[in-house]
């Protein structure tokens, strides 16, 4: 259908300016995974229920399967690939998930970490109830959530103890 135009978008992903021409119907998650080859962001249910596709925009968690790429034009997006520091050291949340065994198959982990990063930006010392409320939009089929809660609590204490918030890694595809 030639009459349907593509739209040019320019956004910042993990600190790096990126551009693309997309059909208006292209979801942000497809743009990230297929055009930018940032496949750390997962597609689970593709119906905005499971949260595996969670990324942050200006620090706020969103489900990238339910946002058009054109809606993200001009946005500052962070994906799981942008969490580690430029020197490769892990973000406090990645450390927490590793230390507390907050994953089994790992499919939900990128989304869990990005949702948790939204929480820790708003609340440096969340209770277990607040952690569980914050990951309500993220489904895990392996862990029963218990170790995920421990992992996020561990990350919060690492941040409070002075773990530096890493600068976004530059990714060049």
């Amino acid at each position: 259908m030639a009459e349907h135009m593509t739209e040019h978008i320019a956004l910042v992903v993990n600190g790096t300016p990126r551009e693309g021409d997309v059909e208006p119907r292209r979801m942000l998650v497809q743009f990230l995974r297929e055009d930018l080859e940032l496949t750390g962001t997962h597609v689970g249910c593709d119906t905005s229920q499971c949260g595996a596709c969670t990324v942050t925009i200006d620090g706020m968690a969103i489900k990238s399967c339910t946002m058009l790429a054109v809606q993200a034009d001009g946005a500052n997006v962070k994906t799981i690939e942008g969490m580690q520091a430029a020197d490769g050291s892990l973000h406090a949340l990645q450390e927490g998930f590793w230390a507390k065994h907050g994953l089994q198959c790992g499919f939900c982990t990128p989304g869990m970490i990005m949702a948790a990063s939204d929480l820790l930006a708003r609340n440096a010392d969340p209770t277990d109830d607040e952690i569980r409320h914050a990951i309500e939009g993220n489904i895990c089929r392996c862990t029963g959530y218990h170790n995920i809660v421990l992992a996020i609590r561990e990350a919060a204490s690492l941040v409070r103890a002075g773990a530096s918030a890493p600068t976004p890694t530059s990714i060049t595809a």
Binding site: E7, M27, D46, T47, G51, M60, K63, H133, E136, G137
Partner: protein
């Protein structure tokens, strides 16, 4: 799942948006939390999307000179939760449990009102508060009372060419107490029954005004006027609240589905109406 092809136009101004709203095949998108899932399932197949998401004039919460609170239509649930609106007891109750954090970061107040999902929490809150819904079109501005605006499932009084610009809440008052109580479906979080209650005691110990509204129960969110009438002049004893709450679904055809048949839903409407009123009175002190 990929939506059908559509044309996309980002409105640069409210006037530009109003020039497009209502033309055939056109849908307005703000946060997209309701529309995009429908488009991915191809239950909605607009030929053109008008994106109003960047219109700064529709964002933010401000207090009007007369004490009322004006909420821009593009205000997200997350923004509302940290605005002065959170001091309304019933909004403070309802907001944290709407959707999940990702949805609250994108979903807008105006979008929820225009979409009118029969299980949406916000319309019941607006009904109980006697909110006003302000709409604009090329023809001018139109102010709707919340009571009468929600006409059915996914159906409102909004005209085809109108865009919601603002929601206005009455100013907070010391002689009012309010609460929101809901029974959520465990997996989806949608309200099987949600009850918004506000009670006002002007001077004495008796209730002089009440706003009670329910969602999830009927075809559309509604004001439970028989409950309100039973509360007026009432001192708010547990017995009198329980009696008033028995009218929660008077005159309403109660929904039944796999999560709650109509008999159970009717019983829960009564129970949660009682709880919401008791909680509202408790906050009045």
């Amino acid at each position: 799942m990929i939506p059908n092809l559509f044309d996309y136009q980002r409105a640069a101004s409210l006037d530009e948006a109003l020039a497009l709203v209502g033309s055939p095949g056109t849908k307005v998108i703000a946060g997209g939390m309701s529309l995009l899932p429908l488009m991915k399932l191809r239950l909605a197949n607009p030929e053109r999307l008008v994106d109003i998401g960047r219109l700064a004039e529709l964002k933010g919460v401000r207090e009007l000179p007369d004490g009322r609170l004006a909420i821009g239509a593009l205000t997200t649930y997350s923004e509302l939760a940290v605005s002065p609106a959170r001091h309304y007891g019933l909004l403070g109750d309802a907001l944290p449990d709407i959707g999940d954090v990702q949805v609250r970061n994108r979903g807008t107040v105006g979008g929820a009102v225009a979409h009118c999902d029969p299980a949406s929490d916000l319309p019941a809150v607006l009904l109980a508060l006697d909110a006003e819904i302000v709409a604009r079109s090329k023809r001018g501005e139109n102010v709707y009372a919340a009571d009468g605006f929600f006409t059915g499932a996914f159906s409102t009084a909004l005209a085809e060419d109108e865009l919601i610009t603002e929601i206005r809440l009455p100013g907070p008052r010391d002689d009012a107490g309010s609460a929101y109580a809901s029974l959520a479906q465990r997996a989806s979080g949608y309200s099987i029954v949600g009850v918004a209650a506000i009670v006002i005691k002007e001077g004495g110990s008796a209730i002089t005004k009440a706003g009670i509204a329910l969602t999830g129960v009927g075809d559309a969110p509604y004001r439970a006027k028989a409950v309100e009438a039973a509360l007026i002049g009432n001192e708010g004893t547990p017995e009198s609240i329980a009696e008033a709450a028995t009218h929660a679904s008077d005159g309403v055809t109660v929904n039944g589905d796999i999560h709650a048949d109509s008999e159970y839903r009717t019983a829960m409407a009564v129970a949660y109406t009682r709880r919401a009123i008791a909680a509202a009175l408790g906050r009045l002190g």
